[in-house]
């Protein structure tokens, strides 16, 4: 049987276009692009996702101009603009 074709879509990550599988979370897309740390803490330490379910707010990024969006709670969308460390 042929392998299922995974649809890909383009997103803009810190200004660069990358293609990621459809249906995954923004946190996953960022990790696939090598971004495990998504923000700096108030004292400047790098932080990445912790709870994976919208509770801890460690995965906050800017999505389409909106700051403090939880990357683990949002699915990627065509042409989505994501900024980390914003």
């Amino acid at each position: 049987m042929p392998e299922a074709v995974i649809a890909e879509l383009p997103i803009r990550l810190n200004g660069e276009t990358v293609r990621v599988p459809a249906g995954i979370t923004v946190a996953a897309a960022l990790a696939l692009a090598g971004q495990q740390a998504l923000r700096l803490s108030v004292k400047g330490a790098p932080r990445g996702p912790l709870c994976g379910m919208g509770v801890c707010f460690e995965c906050r990024v800017t999505i389409d101009g909106r700051r403090h969006e939880r990357a683990c709670q949002r699915l990627v969308a065509d042409q989505m603009e994501i900024l980390t460390h914003d």
Partner: protein
């Protein structure tokens, strides 16, 4: 043991007074019902601002601001003192004319201020909605984080020998002292009632009512606003003695968060949010600063300002009650005026001459307090 002074309450007014008295060598006991600084002092905006509705308010606020300014360097980092300045916004020609009058008044008083035309205003605050006529900048006004300032004042007092008992509500003001809810009694030459909106519980008949206010704070959005923003229309709306009102009042916190105020309610004295009024307040804020609309609100809360009928605090002796003093009724300016109120009252309690004229703040100005009408 007999204390020189017992202070009932542990809010910012009590904390500043305790420090002033301890500094002057008095033995002081502070009795706080809950955690010190956790009353309305933990709910307010912490804007240090000189309001000039009347000369007495102006004198106390100005002296208060100057005292904070002088201590700025020694305040702990947690007090988040920031000299962001106050920017009074004029929406139209009428309010701009008011700004000019305010500028003229400030000049004669020697208060630094600067009139901003339209272009200068938008250069100072690029995120403002279009359509403002201009503004008036008071550059040396500041904001701070009141709970930390309160705890610092109390720590200073304690270092000078004052004693603080938390979770120790006072149940009764007795002759020459107080009785606590747990039955303990403490004696002092002077007792100061500084229990904020709870003060009438200990002194029924006190002309003091809670005036509820609401605030909301956002997540961190550094640089969205730079000054404490207030509208010149604020005075008109907020100081109307009756009815609920909202005003545009936005403050950049040292954390990068934005504190959004404010509202005034006279009838509702519960701690719950008034959602429709909160909606109005936020809508007003969003209309003045459209970028706020996208900002996420982290929390909203209420606070009860201790308000007197004439808007001035009650600072001075209670007529007919030897050794009993009042330090409350600071409404929406108690953070600004904490240090000046403390200096003014401490001097009187210790029998010294205060720097400001104390008479306008004396409780006896109210007929309820003028004779022996008050009985505990």
């Amino acid at each position: 043991m007999q204390y020189d002074v017992i202070i009932v309450g542990g809010g910012i007014i009590a904390a500043a007074l305790a420090e002033s008295l301890a500094l002057a060598g008095a033995s002081v006991l502070v009795l706080e019902a809950q955690n010190a600084g956790a009353g309305v002092s933990a709910a307010g905006m912490g804007h240090l601002v000189v309001l000039d509705d009347n000369p007495a308010e102006l004198a106390l606020a100005r002296d208060g601001l100057e005292r904070w300014q002088r201590r700025r360097a020694v305040l702990p980092a947690g007090a988040e003192y920031r000299e962001c300045g106050t920017l009074w916004l004029a929406r139209d020609g009428e309010e701009l004319a008011e700004a000019e009058r305010k500028q003229a008044r400030n000049r004669t008083l020697g208060l630094d201020c600067k009139l901003l035309g339209r272009a200068a205003l938008y250069a100072a605050e690029p995120n403002l909605a279009p359509g403002f006529a201009g503004g008036l900048l008071r550059p040396d006004e500041a904001v701070l984080y009141p709970p930390a300032a309160c705890s610092w004042l109390l720590a200073n007092a304690q270092a000078l020998g004052a004693r603080l008992l938390e979770h120790c509500p006072v149940a009764e003001l007795a002759e020459g002292g107080v009785r606590c809810a747990d039955g303990r009694e403490f004696r002092a030459r002077a007792v100061v009632l500084a229990a904020g909106t709870a003060s009438p519980e200990l002194l029924p008949g006190l002309p003091l009512k809670p005036r509820k206010g609401q605030l909301a704070i956002t997540e961190r959005y550094p640089d969205l606003v730079r000054h404490q923003l207030v509208e010149l229309g604020y005075i008109k709306r907020a100081h109307a003695a009756t009815g609920d009102s909202v005003a545009f009042n936005v403050q950049p916190r040292a954390t990068g968060q934005i504190l959004i105020g404010s509202s005034r309610e006279n009838e509702d004295t519960g701690a719950e949010l008034n959602w429709p009024l909160l909606g109005e307040m936020l809508e007003l804020a969003g209309s003045m600063l459209p970028a706020l609309r996208q900002c996420r609100i982290l929390r909203a809360w209420t606070g009860l300002r201790p308000a007197t009928p004439d808007g001035l605090p009650l600072l001075g002796p209670v007529p007919g009650r030897t050794g009993l003093w009042l330090a409350t009724g600071h409404e929406g300016l108690g953070i600004t005026t904490a240090l000046s109120s403390a200096a003014l009252l401490a001097a009187q309690i210790l029998g010294r001459k205060p720097e400001l004229d104390p008479a306008p703040y004396w409780p006896q100005r109210f007929h309820q307090l003028s004779g022996s009408a008050l009985h505990a």
